[in-house]
Each structure stands twice: as structure tokens, then as C-alpha cells.
């Protein structure tokens, strides 16, 4: 439970952070809230020789409502997202997820950017970002790129981020009819199964849907067959929604662990997909 020895640096701006990253290469690790990295270090699954603390870099902790939706700095904490009126209004699924992460301590320290960069297969945000079609801004020494969420989450603890890159901002379009629900692990509250849904409604019907699932596969994924099956379904017809969601985890190799078997996770993906869609429909 004691990490191996490390140095610590706290750059004031992105340029200094890039310089430190360039200097130390693989030996360095960025740290934001520390709530994924420090547990790994205590188990010595990560043994960086220097931590580059980005938590005081200016301008990365904003929540801004724009004409196109929301711009969220990578350093925004879970607690800040959960408490934001604008997030609740424009992207309720994200507020749902933020409010259900871990416990108060974790929510006060852990960051949106850190959670996304970490790529934990049971993290909540990846499902939300996939369902809401988020765009992730990635800064490097040479410049910036923007990735679609669909191209960002690549596998277990694997994202599109390279070692010398810093995730700076997440942008979302407005998604008033969206929701996130999960079956939390009773101890950690990580998602055993978590589902985010975003709907476009046309009168009483679902015109189109995006549904994404976390906790089940090696990384969060879109349930595209469910999305297809939902189009045209009456948003108030619980039975029709259930049957559209039945194959939520089709084609995914669901993970098994001591807490839940793969078959259980797959079955719960269908149950929670229906719940997420139902919740999104009445928003």
C-alpha cells in the first residue's frame, strides 16, 4: 500500500507540462485528481519516477454553455459537474453519471479528463460521452487535435491519448433527452453495468437514439443494433423499449470477475438499456 518513490513537479501552464513530459518520457505520469493513478501506484501497478501535476494549470476547469452545447475543461471535477445547473439542463446524462461516481471524496478530487484518460472499462463517463457524441480536444507540444468519442475509447485502459498528450477539453452538443443509469458495484460504485441513452423525439416517438454501455466489455461501446431497433418506437411503450434493448450486448465479449459473470453483465446490459431509454424519454 505504499508507492515506490517518485519526484513531483507542478507546472503552471501547458507549455511547461509539455517540456516536463518531453524531458522525462515514459518515466513521467500526469496526475490530475489522483483517484485512479494513486491507487495504481499504491498497488505498484504504476511506478512513475516523476508525477507532473496538471491540477493547477489555468483555464482547464471551466464549464461553459455555448451556442453548440457545453465546453468542459478536463480538470472539472465530478462534483462540479454534478452540481452544475447548465449540465443538468443541457446534458442530464452527464450530471447523472457524475453524481453517481464513487463517494464524496472521489467526486471532489476526481476529474472528467482523468477519468476519460484512464480508460477504465468500468468507468461511467465513457458511456455518456459515446452516447452524447462528445468531441475530445487533445493538446501536444506541436499542436492540437480533436477526436470523436467513438474514436477515443479503444480498449481496456487504452485510449487515443499518446504519452506526451494532454486532454484539455470535452465538448458536447445539447442532449436534453438523455439519461445515465447504472448497476453500481456495492463497494467501489464503479459500473458493473452502466448505460447512457440520448434520444431525439418526434412527438411521442423516438426519432433516433444513441445508446452506449460501460462495465460490460473491455471498454465502453455503442449498442448500435439497439439504436436501430429504437427508431420509431413509441417513447411511452415500456414493453416495446424492452424488446428493442434485448440484444444490448450482442457481439460483445462480456467480462467476468468475482463480482459478476459475463452472462450476468450481458443480461443486465439489456435491463439497464431499457431503463436508460425510458428515463431519457421522460426528460
Amino acid at each position: 500500500m505504499i508507492p515506490s518513490a517518485f519526484d513531483y513537479a507542478r507546472p503552471e501552464n501547458l507549455q511547461d507540462a509539455f517540456a516536463l513530459l518531453a524531458e522525462h518520457g515514459d518515466e513521467a505520469k500526469l496526475i490530475a485528481g489522483g483517484h485512479s493513478l494513486l491507487p495504481m501506484m499504491k498497488l505498484r501497478l504504476a511506478t512513475p519516477s516523476i508525477l507532473i501535476d496538471i491540477s493547477r494549470i489555468d483555464g482547464l476547469a471551466g464549464i461553459d454553455a455555448t451556442r453548440d452545447g457545453l465546453k468542459l475543461g478536463a480538470l472539472v471535477t465530478h462534483a462540479a459537474l454534478a452540481a452544475s445547473e447548465q449540465v443538468r439542463k443541457l446534458a442530464p446524462a452527464l450530471a447523472d453519471a457524475a453524481a453517481q461516481i464513487g463517494d464524496t471524496q472521489v467526486r471532489n478530487r476526481g476529474t472528467l479528463g482523468g477519468a476519460c484518460a484512464h480508460g477504465d472499462p468500468a468507468a461511467d463517463y465513457p458511456a455518456v460521452l459515446l452516447a452524447l457524441g462528445a468531441r475530445l480536444r487533445i493538446a501536444k507540444k506541436g499542436g492540437e487535435t480533436v477526436k470523436e468519442a467513438d474514436d477515443f475509447f479503444r480498449g481496456m485502459f487504452e485510449t487515443a491519448l499518446e504519452g506526451d498528450a494532454i486532454l484539455t477539453e470535452i465538448a458536447l452538443g445539447p442532449a436534453p433527452h438523455s439519461a445515465y443509469v447504472k448497476f453500481p458495484h456495492p463497494a467501489s460504485h464503479y459500473a458493473v453495468v452502466g448505460v447512457a441513452a440520448k434520444l431525439e423525439l418526434q412527438g411521442a416517438k423516438i426519432a433516433s437514439a444513441r445508446v452506449a454501455i460501460t462495465g460490460v466489455g473491455d471498454s465502453a461501446f455503442r449498442a448500435k443494433s439497439v439504436e436501430k431497433a429504437l427508431s420509431g418506437v413509441d417513447a411511452g411503450d415500456a414493453a416495446a423499449i424492452r424488446s428493442a434493448c434485448i440484444d444490448a450486448a450482442a457481439g460483445i465479449e462480456a467480462r467476468s470477475d468475482v463480482f459478476a459473470s459475463g452472462s450476468y453483465r450481458a443480461a443486465m446490459a439489456a435491463v439497464y438499456a431499457a431503463r436508460a431509454v425510458t428515463a431519457a424519454a421522460i426528460r
Binding site: 468475482v258 459473470s261 443486465m268
Partner: protein, 693 residues
């Protein structure tokens, strides 16, 4: 034998006399004893399940700060072999290069501080030569062996094959239970103090005299030179019953280094430092007539044991004593695997067996269309069906009746899946409970002091059962003094021997010794009420075994389970248990024992399983995050009733044991309720939601 009757204190709910010490932190558990200038020990455990140690690289560890000595098989003193019990495991630690199981102690690092010992333990490098390992006992049932256990492996009465041949209805089912661990909140700990040729152990022990005998023998020192003290134990449940390698190693290290040694196990180390409750494979074959009377009962079980140690979990015991049948055949076999040796765990034998047996009976009841409670009444055993002898006492019929009434069994709709509340499926299930009565020879001493204080001395242990309160209650009544005037000293081999606190035996055994000592004191007093000099009397309880009587405790358990239709998570809404278990000395601590047992039953039914990696022979989660036990939110309404009775044959008090009885039959009642709620019969325990998909 005569029993105590109609006293003021016995039978009155009395709060724990040691409660204040416990909640204020004054109570001294083994690791709490203050020690001057101690050394600290940390174990290194094998990472392979089978093979041998090729070599150690200790250079880094030995030169780490504060390290006093690293014991391995290459430098540890030779130990003297001994039987089990008192040893839990006869395969003694650090005696050879041989590895029989993952998590076997291969080194003991001793350093000036705990942190230094922990650090150096990480630096110990072991080079292994891996041997072939057999981990999964279920894959090797045909390699079964006969093993000597606490109970006979086999029994047979009547002709089971003929009975089954003539049965109108037959059930032939196989049930599985999981490996489980005791995980008491206090991990095992031994503080060893070798001083002037004498050894004192402050230990977390359920049997101080057992530890004394074993450690003295194995280290080759005179019994009189060893003293074991265990004043408070933070839960034992069987894992501190016998003597395990770490206790021997702590004593050995203290002797070798001439300084006190503190060895407190980490939670992870406890998973293999002492025994566990075996998983089981149990086949139950039942034959009955159309009107629901048994004509044949067959119960066979298989459980794992270690490579070089024998342990037999006799699962097929409930079938021997529970129901009337002309033919009963029971058989228990073991399979050797590369794992540590199992040990009893609340509740052993009947507790594991009842899961299969009482669920199979339920299956038969449904197959016959007979109410499960009615089925049990039709087959009520007036005598022990295996031996033909009468029971010392049995009021199980009353348990059924009162239990059914309190629970509201009559509200049950007979067809599974027909009781609902919105999305919640509701199920009612029940089971019987039976537990063999174990008694220990015990001695005690009582002293009346000038001024009126009474002091009881007896080397029993209070592992949470309430003996700190119960034994003073017995003495208070026998002497006619208020319980506040009585103090008890226990958990110390310097006191009169009173056997191990296991087998649910302590209250009746130590209690009977206390009772005789009090009687003797009264005789010595000859009518006087006070003394000018302390006056001491001794008492003894020597249980006499008789073939003419069968001695068991009984119970009827009813459970209501709610299963969410979608998830489908089973939750126990309430349990009613009614028990025929002799005289209840302290109804308050007795209820506490039973609700503790019921909680264990909930764990056995729904949660507890030590998942094993079948390749590495290693438990996947040596911690309480992965080994899930019931939390308060899992335990709701528990309703406990004791039949008022006095079993004069069992003990001088008319009392029997209840520490384990409460854990028997609960998992079966829950399993049966889940079937009633869902129509899905799960024969693989614990019943995780995924098994109900």
C-alpha cells in the same frame, strides 16, 4: 443429573458484562498487549501450489534496515511432529523445501518495526521448481479417499436400494456448496514472549490449552514452561480452534532471538494461514410413498482435503438424525488437492449438509404436491432413525408449529411464482435444522472474598458467545448473590482447564463446571453468607457418553425472500427460527448467537464463496472486497424463539449449545424460498443473481 431450576438471574435477558470494555476499547485482544522492545514478524507465502523451493535469494532482504533474522526451512529449528487436533495442520512449517499449496508459509521475516519487516518480506526472492498440481476436487471425484473425521464417514440402516425400488416418487439430485472462509474481523495474531526459559503467548485462540499443548510439544519444551493467554477474541468461527503454523513460528522465533515477537496476520495471509470450510459435492437420493412418507434416504458427499493432512467435512450427517425412514445410507469421501487443510467453520458438517439435504427434501415435497412443512411432520423422527435410540430431548414439533404461526406460513400460495408485489417476486421457504451436541470435560474454581465479591476462574474462552456474562449468571444464581458481585477470569492456561470453545460446547461445559464449583462453595460455607478469609471451591464437569441416548439440538427455519424480476437479485426479507436447544441461560446473548448464525446462513445462501483460480490454486480475492459477507443492509427482520425446555441429560444446567445451530438450515430455507418465488431451482450455492437469469 439434576438441573438448576427457577432462579432469579438464569433465564433473564442480561446485557454483556464485558460490553463496556469492548465498546470503549479497553478490551485487550491479542495484538493489543503492550510489549516492551518487541520484534515484528511478517510471513512470506508460496506463490505456487505444488513443487519445491529451489533456492532463496535473501541478499536484499537481509540487508534491508532493521532485519533481525529471516527464517526459512534452511535455518529454522526442526520441530517435533504431532497429530491433529490440537494441530490444525500436521504439515509443519519451514521444515523442508516441499510446497503443497499456494499460500504456504515459506519464510518468516523478523525486524525491528512492522514496516521494516513488511518491506524486507517483499524483498525475499524465492526460486521455485513447480510440480504437478491438482486444484479442482470436482474434477477428481473418482479419486476419492476414505478419511477419518470427527464423525463416522459412513452409516447404513435398512436397505436403501430396495426402498428406492419400491418408492412411488424418487428424487436424485446433486447440490454444490462453495469454499468459504471464516474471515473474523480480528485476523489471527500471536505475541510470543520467551523469557528466562519460559514462553508466554498472547494469542487469538478458541482453545488456550490446545495451543499450549501443541506449542510445547512441537518446540520440545516442558508443558509447564508454556502459558497461553487469550482474553478477548474478535471472532473465531472455527479458524482459531486448532493450532496453525503461524502460532508455532511466532513462538519459535521468540525463542531463537530471545526477544518478544509480534506476529499479526494480514487479512490476505489468513486465507491460507488457517483452514477454510470446504466446498462440497453432495448427491441426495430420496424415495417416498405417494402420501409423502420416506422409504429410503441416501446422502453422499465429496469434499477436498490437503495433500498431507486429513480433514473430513461430514456433510451427510443431517440425513442420519432428521427424519424417520426405514432405510438411510450416508457416505462421505474426500479428495486430495494442493490446497491448505480445511477446518471446521460455523456450522460444520450438518451446516454444509443441510443445504443439500433440506433442499432435496423440498424438491420431493413439490414433486409430491405436499406442503414442505407437512412433509416434515409426516416424517417426524420420534427416535434417532440411525441408532434407534431416543433423543435426550426433542421439541421440534413445537418448533414447526410456533414457527409456522409466527411466520405466517399459512399465507403461502402453494404454486411457485404466484406471490408478487409489483416487480418483486415473493417466496416462502422453510427447512429443518439439526446439530450434534458436543460437550467438553471442564473444570472451574470459585472464590468468595471477604466483602462478598465472587471470582470465577476457568480457562474457557469468550469468542463473542457471551461466556463473560453467562458464567457469572450461573454462579450468581447458584450462590444467591447479585450478578454484579461476580467477576470471571478466563482465557488463560494458568486457570483450570475447560476445553475448546468450539462445537457450541462452552456454555454447557464450562457452565456446568462453574455450577458444581458454586455448589461445592455453598457446601463449604455451610450456611454462612460471608467469609473473613477468601474461600475457594473447585468444580468439574465430566460428560458421560451414553449409547442409550442421542443428543442433538433442533430448529425450524422459515425465510421470506424477495427477488427483483429484472435483476434478479434475491434479498432475504425476514427469517423466523424456532429452536429446541435446551435451557437458555441468557436469552439476550442467545438471541445474539442465533441472529449471528442466521446472518452466516444468509452469506452461505447468497454471497460467500472463495473463488479459486484453478490454474494457480490461488484464491482470487484474499480480502473482504472479493469475499463478500452480509452487511447490515443484507440482514433485515430476524425473529428468534426458543422452546422453554431443560435437557437434564445434556449438562448439569439443562443447557445445550446454540453457537452453530443458528447457522444451520438457513441457506436451505432461503434456497427453497427462492424456488418458491421464481420457479427456478438452483442447486449451486451461493445463489448468485446470475443463476436466476
Amino acid at each position: 443429573m439434576t438441573a438448576v431450576v427457577g432462579r432469579a438471574v438464569v433465564g433473564t435477558p442480561t446485557s454483556r458484562l464485558d460490553g463496556r470494555e469492548k465498546v470503549s476499547g479497553e478490551a485487550r485482544y491479542a495484538a493489543d498487549w503492550p510489549f516492551e522492545n518487541p520484534l515484528y514478524g511478517v510471513l512470506v507465502q508460496s506463490s505456487i501450489p505444488s513443487g519445491r523451493i529451489d533456492s532463496f535469494d535473501l541478499a536484499a532482504a537481509e540487508s534491508a534496515p532493521g532485519v533481525a533474522r529471516i527464517f526459512t526451512h534452511l535455518n529454522a529449528p526442526r520441530l517435533v511432529p504431532m497429530d491433529s487436533p490440537p494441530l490444525g495442520q500436521t504439515f509443519l512449517p519451514l521444515q523442508s523445501d516441499r510446497i503443497d499449496y499456494e499460500g504456504q508459509h515459506v519464510a518468516l521475516v523478523i525486524a525491528e518495526t512492522l514496516e521494516q519487516a513488511q518491506h524486507a518480506a517483499r524483498l525475499v526472492r524465492v526460486v521455485y521448481e513447480r510440480g504437478p498440481a491438482r486444484i479442482d476436487f470436482r474434477a477428481h471425484l473418482t479419486d476419492e479417499i476414505e478419511v477419518q473425521g470427527f464423525f463416522p464417514a459412513d452409516t447404513s440402516t435398512g436397505d436403501v436400494s430396495a426402498g428406492l425400488g419400491g418408492a412411488d416418487v424418487k428424487i436424485d439430485v446433486t447440490y454444490r456448496t462453495a469454499d468459504r472462509h471464516h474471515v473474523p474481523i480480528e485476523p489471527s495474531a500471536t505475541l510470543a514472549d520467551w523469557r528466562d526459559g519460559k514462553l508466554t503467548l498472547y494469542d487469538a485462540a478458541q482453545w488456550v490449552h490446545g495451543v499450549r499443548i501443541a506449542v510445547a510439544h512441537v518446540l520440545g519444551i516442558p508443558l509447564d514452561d508454556v502459558r497461553v493467554i487469550s482474553k478477548f477474541v474478535g471472532g473465531g468461527f472455527g479458524c482459531k480452534g486448532f493450532v496453525w503454523p503461524h502460532q508455532i513460528l511466532a513462538a519459535m522465533a521468540s525463542r531463537e532471538l530471545g526477544r518478544p515477537v509480534k506476529l499479526v496476520l494480514s487479512r490476505a495471509h489468513t486465507f491460507t494461514a488457517h483452514g477454510y470450510q470446504t466446498a462440497s459435492e453432495q448427491r441426495v437420493v430420496l424415495g417416498a410413498t405417494r402420501d409423502g412418507r420416506f422409504v429410503a434416504i441416501r446422502h453422499h458427499s465429496w469434499t477436498p482435503t490437503a495433500i498431507s493432512d486429513d480433514y473430513l467435512e461430514t456433510c451427510a450427517t443431517p440425513a442420519r438424525a432428521s427424519y424417520a425412514s426405514g432405510a438411510i445410507e450416508t457416505r462421505n469421501r474426500a479428495v486430495r488437492v494442493n490446497r491448505g487443510v480445511p477446518t471446521p467453520m460455523r456450522a460444520p458438517h450438518e451446516g454444509v449438509g443441510a443445504v443439500a439435504f433440506e433442499c432435496a427434501l423440498d424438491e420431493l415435497a413439490y414433486a409430491l404436491g405436499v406442503d414442505p412443512l407437512e412433509m416434515r411432520l409426516r416424517n417426524y423422527a420420534e427416535r434417532d432413525p440411525t441408532t434407534g435410540t431416543p433423543f435426550s430431548q426433542k421439541n421440534l414439533r413445537e418448533c414447526y408449529r410456533i414457527g409456522a404461526e409466527r411466520f405466517g406460513w399459512a399465507r403461502r400460495s402453494p404454486v411457485p411464482g404466484t406471490m408478487r408485489d409489483g416487480d418483486t417476486l415473493i417466496g416462502y421457504g422453510m427447512a429443518g435444522a439439526v446439530m450434534f451436541t458436543v460437550r467438553m470435560p471442564s473444570t472451574a474454581r470459585i472464590t468468595l472474598h471477604p466483602g462478598g465479591d465472587v471470582v470465577i476462574e476457568t480457562a474457557t474462552q469468550d469468542i463473542g458467545g457471551g461466556q463473560y456474562t453467562i458464567l457469572p449468571m450461573i454462579a450468581a444464581d447458584a450462590l444467591g448473590v447479585p450478578v454484579e458481585r461476580v467477576r470471571i477470569v478466563l482465557g488463560d492456561t494458568a486457570l483450570p482447564d475447560a476445553g475448546g470453545t468450539f462445537g457450541s460446547s462452552s456454555t454447557m461445559s464450562a457452565g456446568s463446571a462453574v455450577f458444581t464449583a458454586a455448589q461445592e462453595l455453598k457446601r463449604l460455607l455451610g450456611g454462612r453468607r460471608s467469609v473473613s478469609q477468601p474461600l475457594t471451591a473447585e468444580g468439574k464437569f465430566q460428560p458421560e457418553h451414553s449409547d442409550a441416548l442421542s443428543m442433538f439440538t433442533f430448529g425450524a427455519v422459515f425465510a421470506e425472500v424477495h427477488v427483483d424480476r429484472d435483476l434478479p437479485t434475491p434479498r432475504v426479507a425476514r427469517i423466523t427460527g424456532v429452536y429446541s436447544a435446551g435451557r437458555i441461560i441468557n436469552p439476550k446473548t442467545a438471541r445474539s448467537q442465533i441472529i449471528g448464525g442466521m446472518t452466516w446462513g444468509i452469506g452461505q445462501a447468497l454471497l460467500e464463496a472463495s473463488e479459486l483460480d484453478l490454474g494457480l490454486g490461488r484464491y482470487l480475492s484474499k480480502n473482504l472486497a472479493g469475499y463478500v459477507v452480509p452487511a447490515c443492509a443484507d440482514v433485515r427482520e430476524l425473529d428468534v424463539t426458543f422452546i422453554e425446555e431443560v435437557d437434564e441429560h445434556a449438562s448439569l444446567l439443562g443447557a445445550k449449545g446454540i453457537g452453530e445451530l443458528g447457522a444451520v438450515g438457513v441457506a436451505a430455507a432461503i434456497g427453497n424460498a427462492i424456488y418458491h418465488a421464481t420457479g427456478t431451482r438452483v442447486r449451486d450455492f451461493p445463489i448468485r443473481p446470475e443463476r436466476l437469469l
